[in-house]
Structure formats: structure tokens, C-alpha cells
Symmetry: D2
Subunit: 348 residues, 4 copies
């Protein structure tokens, strides 16, 4: 018996790293039929020509961003820079498609805040009330019923999952949170800019965006909802000379130094298919999640101090982008949540 | 409908890179039940402790190399340094298990030649007559009936697949073949030696073993069989600062300069599930096969000269080791050849 | 006019990464004559055979660790694992040599603390009173007169230089300091262990030693001296897939949020030959100090918050080890402090 | 006594990798005063802002490509894409400056051939007679007297040095030469194109330009001059995931299989300051020349065959570009040939 391919899926922006990763996952997804993949610059080109890893797996060619086929999709994924999804989503929703935006257009629920960080007015603020933030571990039920899902950023995914149990327990100092985060280069996208060249990033390490990164308001928004009160985060992202992988080192101060924070995490994430709380004393490596949809977390309460250090790793292109989007789709279409996401991380 | 797990499989040597990759593939193989995975140094330890990418996927723990459970397996894979398989294979065959040796013990059919290259006498030369060399593109039918398969080395796989169509056409100069090959560091195994440290290999490139590499007699043996005459190969392996991937650049001199070598390759490999002959003018990248069982080949006849350059890439741990072993197992157990090997390469 | 080679220098442990880097610097140092370089395992072998970058620059061969030639040196560098220097230093001091220990034997001034972190009794606690901690930016005058210098660890160098101006101003909360530090693989030394293999570290990132790293008490000791009061640091080291480079991201809470911390740093390090305070808003890259003895620092007071983030980068083998040792030697022998340390970082 | 800075030097194109490397070398060169460094896009910006490794070493700012200061230089280096030098060199020569072009404009002496490979007519073919090809090991005397030097490409440098002794002996088959060459990414320059992004090149390996690379006619031209007869080379370049380093594996067929080729190389390069013939059986690593001007060569005659394999490594930015340019300048101004080029390779 073969599973009927029942979900017609489209991807807007199929040549960036997020789009390419969506393709890797959806081409093998047992319930999905890819019907339209767009590219601004490569319309007409076979997918496998731009993405040689797909050779022999699909006969599709890229179509333009405004291809009518998108309107016949059951679900459309946007893997585009901010600003693109906003202009097309209202029409697609009207046409009956569900939408999962892997970009930033619908992540902030406050249109003014969005404008402040992205430098342009939001063009469909009326949708911000109905968007569901697609972090299943926090919003699972709402995602099931959503027509429009804002897929979280990669940093927010790793940082938030590393803090939720602390915030839900109400024991962390909400003004003193620090997330020192490190990402591989694919997180910056497939942009032909000098700063992302091999010879610029290789064998080097640096911080960036200390003065303000667009993922900061997103993280603070989600943490604030979880905590029920405003949260102030110090967030410093860094660029690691590797392709995939994201490691968040989160520092929190607790009211009571001796609490069993390990148990908080284990209980909170028991039953979660894609969050793995490691044994005490562990140090997760990013390679142990490479290509998989898992977030691995280790919790280190510092002996004799009121501080806890949480280590949280994901593959930024999977749990931090395309994998989480597929997880959301599975929920939105009442499939088993892990369908098409059973890949084991590639190690070494 | 779920496929019944009908093949009980064991792995001898589950902590090296080849063993780890076998585990990644077999844990998700729909027709395999892993029943015994051995480790000399880690018997008793849960697999997922040594290989964190497996966390949550298997409850198995390592058993010793001589665990009785191996004798109840339908198939046993050896992912061990040379010398180990030789001592255990006769007993396993007698117990009724089929054996696929990913090491070097059964790759050379001449026991004297084996001793010359491996520095010790072969302890079961009587088996060398019945071993089948497990390169499906050359030996498919024999593999189906084999009880003992010698899984090819990584260099031989890429080099031989890059030369078979030329040799079968009988048009290449058999004394002048050159294979300039480049491998990622995982090809050297998980050995704690200074020369394989990160700080020794990173951001550097070198040749090694110019005076003689153990894969040379193996390649010459297979090429000789294909050509029907002895073949002399100049083989220079190099070490690339990357984890996975193998690129063979093969140089051959042809009798006739203008022959349509592209067509020879396309016809020879038409229908092969794991050999992809790319369009003329292509340059395959190793990353386009990373994690997949595919060998991608590009053929470059040099205009106006009697020389052809063939570029052949594989993932040394998949088509060059564990994936090819699973492909062989599928053939030996009359499964669809690609079962459990549908992974798309991870790009980027 | 050529400078007379007046300082006879010896190196104990010339084959590790720190020793190799000392050789790179000292072979070209205009005032140094290398007279003895030891190796436990390679005595008798020409240096250039073990270190091919030295081919053609020196005719020396390694001598044993206890070679008498060491006693005739004006200065002896120890580039050895902890425990080695302790046993030989008293004799060398007696013989009139000055000693610079790049290992850990003399970094902690409290013998009990040393034993707690290094697991063995200190064998010459009587020397701990006269040791000078070789961080010139803090201890310059004492170093000039020292016979025995403890060269700082790589993490302490970057972290302490990133905190000194804050502590000297007396404005930072001494209980809440955090150093999230990231080091290239060469910081772990040239040890043939599985965890340091290329295929283990490449394209991955992880924290380690969260529960306690030997550099923590060293940093707290120095910071405490600078602050004049005990300091509690949360220190989390991470391993970056690169060879050289160390990046410390330091978080401090200030009493007054709007202080001009940029000016504190600029004034404190004005005139320092090897500390470079970058313009506001900068993000130093480790590659911008690769091969050089410079520590580059950027200071980021967070607007509207009482927190400052300091980014501090060094080459762990130069300013974090061999370069700083040469800087100390220059001071101890009344040479111009930058002699032999004028290398410009290699970029790219 | 300080050496008087007597040579006023200019650089056209100071922000690319070759220009940056020239700056690293010339800022510390004892006989050079940098007086003009140009940049098309960054005129007015301090050098140290674009190249942070230079912070504190120079107060210069970039000037436009046509800055008058260039005409007052004693020597002008062009580190520009092809086409730029051609248009400016005649005027500079007239003004009395010597010129070293690190680009491709003057490497081919046949203007028609140049047009065929570079796709545009050569604009000053009258200069092609007086250009000297700046490979000191072949052309030292002519370089001393030259006003205009064409600095060799990186591939030609490594390949030609690996073949000169064979060709001068007249024993190699000139129709069957093969150079399988591998370069780090910096060899492709600092161009913001997608194909050179970190996430495209990292952890992957590929050939490129098999059908024809612009360095091929350059190599054949030089080899032909050395051999005194036309030479046909098969040249396949590859891209290695590393920043610096170039490894040429050269294959030649000899008339007599047992000749002592090791001796040919040792004798030919005896006394050469920057060519190091390693002992028999060696495998040079690119890291052993990183940052240095040395070409290291190992010669492997294959036992029992008439074939020799030569391994030749350089740092593509030093001996393959900026270092060789400085070596040429030293010759042109009657300085000691190694002045300013004494850097020891950085290992690790």
C-alpha cells in the first residue's frame, strides 16, 4: 500500500538554502505532492539543474513567483526575504491555501514594532491577529487550526526552547537573561555578498549585530507570552565557520539556587518528538542534529551559585527553518507530527 | 501496511565511522531488525551514548565482538580494521549467516598479494574462491547469490565506476591510466593518531601514499577483470580538509580521439539506480552526494586530443562503504535494490 | 649593523603547538640564539623533520628533556603539559637561567587550589611567592625583574584584558560576570585523542567543561587582584571548528548604565603595543589577529540597559601563548617590548 | 642603523586578496615606502578600516585608481582583474615607474592568443616584446633589468617549478604531461558571487574549468620556452575547501624509467632561496608553506614504471602572487632577493 499524495504543496523561493532544504524534505514526504516551486531568477530551469542533489528525484522546473499554480495548492511555503510573503499571502488565503511563512513577515504581532526593525510599513497588518507563531512545543493546538503560520527564526527556536521550562516555572529573573548564540553560515542565506565568502569566514570567528538583531524582538515577544510578563534579553549572535548548526548558550539567574532544573526540562519536554533533554553534564554538539529536526538541550545548574546555563542546539535549516515548517504542516493537515522528519543526524 | 522487519542484522565494529554510518542507515531500514552491534572497547554502553545522533532511535547497547547473538543473525556486517573479519567469518557462514565485510580482508582474491600489502598471512584463503566483490554495477547477479561479499574500498568504487565504460569499450590504453583521487578525512577512520587531528588537517591539502596505497592492487584487480587483461594504474590519493566526500579525477588515453565517450557512459549506466552520468561539461561536487548512495560522473573528452578526463564523486561513507553494503544486502535478500537508500544528499 | 644574538634560549617541549609557535617566533627573533630544543619522543630528530615549516631555517635537532645545554641558557621556555616544569624549574633557576612557563604549573599562587584543580600536589610551592604572572598589561614592572614568569593561559588573557578597565573603574558587579569564550582547536594541544580528530570537530560546534575548567580559578585569581576584591565568574568555553583564534564575549552589569565605557578602555590601553581598542560598534574577527600578538577589543554598552558586552579576540597560540612569552622575555631582558613580534595578521 | 626607505611603491587594487597580501608584505618591507594604494570602491577610506589586520601599522587611505601619486612611484604593483593594468601601464612606464602586474594582462606574449582567452583585444601589444615573465627561477637575469614584469599566475608557478628540471633534462614526453592542480578559495579572488560563498564551498570538493582554464596557455607558453619545443599539457584545476594553498600533482612519462630524477631537482634548485626539494618519499602539505614564499617539491619516480609524479605546493597568495611580486621587485631594485620575505610558514 502506498500513501496517497494528498497535499499539494508549493514553495515560493526554492533556490535559497531554506527553500533547498524544504525541497530535500518535501520531495521525500509521503503525503506531499510538490506542484509549484518558484524562483525569481531561474524560472524555467529544472530544479535539478540549480540543486544537483535533487537530480533524478523530481521533474519539476521553477515557475515565476506569481505562477497561478500556487493558488491551487493546499499549502504554500514562503522561503523568501522579508517583504515578499506579505504581498502574496492575502490572495493565497482567499484562494483557500494554507500558508507557512519561513520569512519574517508575520513573526511580530505588532505592526509598528515590525516597521521599526524591518524599515518599511507592514502591508497587511489585519492578518497579524490571526497568524499563529509556529513553535509546536508552545503553540501546538493553535497551529492545528491555523490558516497562516509564522515559522520561527532559527535563533528564536533554539533560545526559546532553552528557556521555556525556566519561565513557566516562574523562577528566573526576567531582566537578566542572556543568550550567547552561535550560528553556521547557512543561517545568513544564499546572498552573494563579500562578507559571506569562503575566504572571509573560514578559520575565523566573530560576533555580529550586538547593537540589535532582528531576532531579538521576536524572542522577547515569545518569551514574554510564555512568562506572562515582559522579558528583557541580552542577545549576542556569532558566526561560526561551519555550514549548518546553531548553538545557544543561555544564562539565567534563579531565585533559588538548588532547584532541580533538570527535572523541569525533562518533564516539560516529555513526549515532545523533537526536543531531547540530555543527561546531566552533557554538552550537545551541533553535528549531532545535523540534517535532523531535533533540538538537543543540556541543563547545567552551576553548583553553589544561583545561575543556570542551558545549552541548546539545532540544525538551523531543519528545526530552525524547513523541518519546523514541515512539522507545522503535518499539524495543520492532521498528519502524524513526525511524518517525513525521521532523518537521523549525519555523524560524522 | 507496515513492512515486516524480516532481516536480523548484526554489525561487528559499530563505533567507527563506517559502523556509525551503517547504523544511521540500518536503524531506519524498513526490512531490517538490528539485533547485535559490537564494540571492543564499549561493550555494555548504550549505542546512543557513543553516537548521540542515535538518541531516541534505538535501545540497543554494544555487545562484545564474540557475542553469540551474531550467530543468530541473517546477515553480519564487518566494519572493522583488516584482520578481524577473517577470524570470525568462517564460523558465521557455518552458522548460516550471510556476511558483508566492509574491511579489506576479502577484497583481494590472491592470498599472496593480500599478504604482501597487509603484512600478514591470510587466515582463510579457502574462502577467497567464493567471495563476491560487492560492486553491484559490475557484479549484480553474483551478489544476489553470494553468502560472503567483500564490500569495495571507497577509492576503488569511485575510480572503477569512472573507468568501466572505457574499459568495456576496449578503447583505452591500459598501461597509461591515472587516477588522481581526493578523499575527506573520514576515509581514514576514527583512529586517535596525531596526523588526523583537526589542527593537522584543517586548511591544508596533501598527497599521501604515492609509493603505494592498499587500494591500488584492489583497483587493478577489478579493472583487470573488467578489461579482460592486466591494467596498470598510477594512483595518487590526497587528503582534503572535509569530513565526507571522495573525488576521483581519472585520466585515460583513447585509441580514437573523437569517440562519443559521453554516450558510452550514459548507455552503460542507464537504469543504474545509484550512478548518475551528468550532462556534458559538468563538474560534480562532492557535497551533491553527501549522505546519499549516488556516484555522480562527468565525462570530459579533451577537444583535439586523444585524452578523456572523468570526474567521479561519491560519499566515501555511503556509496564508498555503508550505503554500498546496504545495497549489497538488499540484493542478497531479494529486496528492491534502493530500499533504505533513498536519502537525498544534504546541500548545503 | 646586525643585532648581536645575545640571548641563549632553550625550549622544553618543542613539538606541541605552543612549542612550534615559539620556534616560529624565536628562529626569527633578532636577539635570540636558540641553543636547545627538547622533545621527549623525538630526541635526535632534526627540528625541520618534525616541523616542515622550519625547513632551511635551523640546523638544530631535538635533545632530551634533561639535556645539560638547558642549564647554559639565559632563558628557558616550558611548553609542556602541567607537571613537567615544576620538576625542572628549581634547578634551572639555580643555574642562573630565567624561566618562562607556558604551562599551568605556576599560574595559581595557592598550592592547595592548584592541587584541587590539577589533581596532584605542587612540588615546589616555595616558588609560588616569587613567580610573576606574565600579563604585561597588568604586571609589566614586575615582569621586568622576574626570574620566573607564569605565562597566562589563552582564555585568561582574552577574558582578563576584556575586563580590566571595568574592574579598575570599580563600576562592575563583581558577582555577575560572565565570560562566554570560544577557542580554535589548537588550544587543546597536539594530543592524539579521538575527540580532537578532524572528523569529530569539523563543521560542528559545542561547549565543554561547563562544570569547571582549569582556567576559571586562574581568571578569578587575576581579576580578584585587579579588583581588589573576590570576583565570581561564570565561564563557559566552547570549541570552534578553526585552528587558531579565541573570542571571548564578556558580559558585565554596571552600576551606572550610561557611563562612557569606550573611553575607559581607550584610556586604559593607550600606549599598549598589543592591545587594540576598536571604534564603537566594531566586531573583531579572530582572523584579524591570526599569527599576530595583538588583542583586539570592542566595547558594546547596551543602550538603555545597565549591561556592557565586551568582545575580545586573540590568536590563542600567539598572544595566548608563545607571543606573550616572547613579549615577557623582551621585558625580562630589557629589549624593546615588540621585538620579534611585528608580524601582521594573515588575512585572509 | 635603520635601512633608508628608498623605494616608493604604489599598489593599484589594494582591497582584493592579492592586494591585501602585498600590503601585509610591503608594510613591513625594510626598503619600501608605500605612497599610494588605490581602490575603485573605497577611495578615501583608511586602509585599516577595510583590512583590520593593518590597524596600527599604516596611516594611509585608499586613493582612486588614477591618483597622480602613482606617477611618482618607483614601482607600481597592479593587483587588479585583467584589463585594468593594460590601460595604465604605458603612462606609468613613460613617467619612469617600474611596473609589476600581478594580473593577467602581460602574461601571454601573443596578443591574438590573449584575445582568444580573455575575450577582448589587447590594448598595448607593443609592450609584449619587452615584458619579462617574472618567475625568478627561470628568468632571474632578465627580471633584474626589466621595467615591466608579468607576475606569473598561481597555477603556473607551482606547475612550472614542478616540471622545469624534467624539461631541461629533455627526458620527459612533452605530449603526455598532466597537471592535476588543487587550489584554496582565495585563488578565486574576493568576488561577491554565489559560487564562492562559505556555504557553497565548505566541506566539498570539485574540479572546474576542465574544458579550458586561462592558466593553461600561460603554462604551455613557459614550458615550451623551457623545453625549446611546444608542450601539450592536460590541466585540471580543482577547488579545495581551504583559504590558502595550492598543490600541483604533476605526472610525466620519462624516456628512461630509472633515471635519478631526485638529483635533477636537487641540482637544479640548489641555491634557490625559495624552492625546497624535499627528501625522497616526502609528501609536502600546503600548510607547511602558508604565509611563506617557499615552493616545496617532492619527486616520486614510480618503481618499475617510466612515470614520475611530482608534488609541488605553494601559498597561492605568496609565492603564487604577492610574495613572488616582492621577490621580483627585490631583483629589479638590486636588493637581496629574500628581503622582506623571511616569514616562516604558520603551522598549525
Amino acid at each position: 500500500m502506498t500513501i496517497r499524495k494528498q497535499i499539494r504543496a508549493g514553495i515560493v523561493g526554492g533556490t535559497g538554502y531554506t527553500g533547498a532544504e524544504l525541497l530535500r524534505l518535501l520531495v521525500r514526504h509521503p503525503a506531499v505532492e510538490l506542484t509549484a516551486v518558484t524562483s525569481r531568477s531561474r524560472a524555467g530551469m529544472p530544479l535539478e539543474e540549480a540543486l544537483p542533489n535533487l537530480r533524478g528525484t523530481t521533474g519539476l522546473a521553477f515557475v515565476p513567483h506569481d505562477a497561478p499554480a500556487l493558488r491551487d495548492c493546499d499549502v504554500v511555503f514562503f522561503a523568501t526575504p522579508h517583504g515578499t510573503a506579505m504581498s502574496a499571502v492575502p490572495g493565497l488565503l482567499e484562494a483557500g491555501a494554507k500558508v507557512i511563512d519561513l520569512g519574517a513577515d508575520f513573526r511580530l504581532t505588532d505592526a509598528d514594532l515590525w516597521q521599526r526593525w524591518y524599515g518599511a510599513p507592514h502591508t497587511c497588518p489585519e492578518l497579524l491577529d490571526q497568524v499563529v507563531y509556529g513553535l509546536p512545543e508552545v503553540n501546538r493546538d493553535a497551529i492545528r487550526d491555523a490558516a497562516l503560520v509564522a515559522n520561527p527564526g532559527c535563533y528564536p527556536t533554539a533560545v526559546v526552547l532553552g528557556l521555556v521550562p525556566l519561565l513557566e516555572q516562574g523562577r528566573a529573573d526576567l531582566r537578566g537573561l542572556i543568550a550567547d548564540a552561535k550560528s553556521g553560515a547557512s543561517g545568513a542565506g544564499r546572498k552573494a555578498v563579500e562578507g559571506l565568502l569562503y575566504s572571509e569566514l573560514s578559520d575565523s570567528f566573530k560576533a555580529y549585530g550586538v547593537a540589535g538583531h532582528r531576532h531579538l524582538p521576536e524572542i522577547e515577544q515569545v518569551l514574554g507570552r510564555v512568562a506572562g510578563r515582559p522579558v528583557a534579553l541580552t542577545f549576542v549572535p556569532h558566526l561560526v565557520p561551519m555550514v549548518r548548526g546553531l548553538h545557544a548558550t543561555v544564562y539565567a539567574t534563579l531565585a533559588a539556587p538548588d532547584a532541580d532544573v533538570q527535572a523541569w526540562f525533562e518533564q516539560r519536554y516529555a513526549g515532545e518528538p523533537f526536543v531531547d533533554v540530555m543527561p546531566p553534564g552533557s554538552h550537545p554538539e551541533t553535528r549531532a542534529v545535523k540534517g535532523s529536526n531535533t533540538c538537543r538541550i543540556a541543563v547545567h545548574p552551576l553548583p553553589g551559585r544561583d545561575r543556570v546555563v542551558v545549552l541548546s542546539v539545532i540544525d538551523n535549516l531543519v528545526k530552525g527553518a524547513a523541518g519546523q515548517a514541515v512539522q507545522n504542516m503535518n499539524l495543520m493537515f492532521a498528519l502524524e507530527e513526525a511524518t517525513g522528519l525521521e532523518q537521523i543526524a549525519m555523524l560524522p
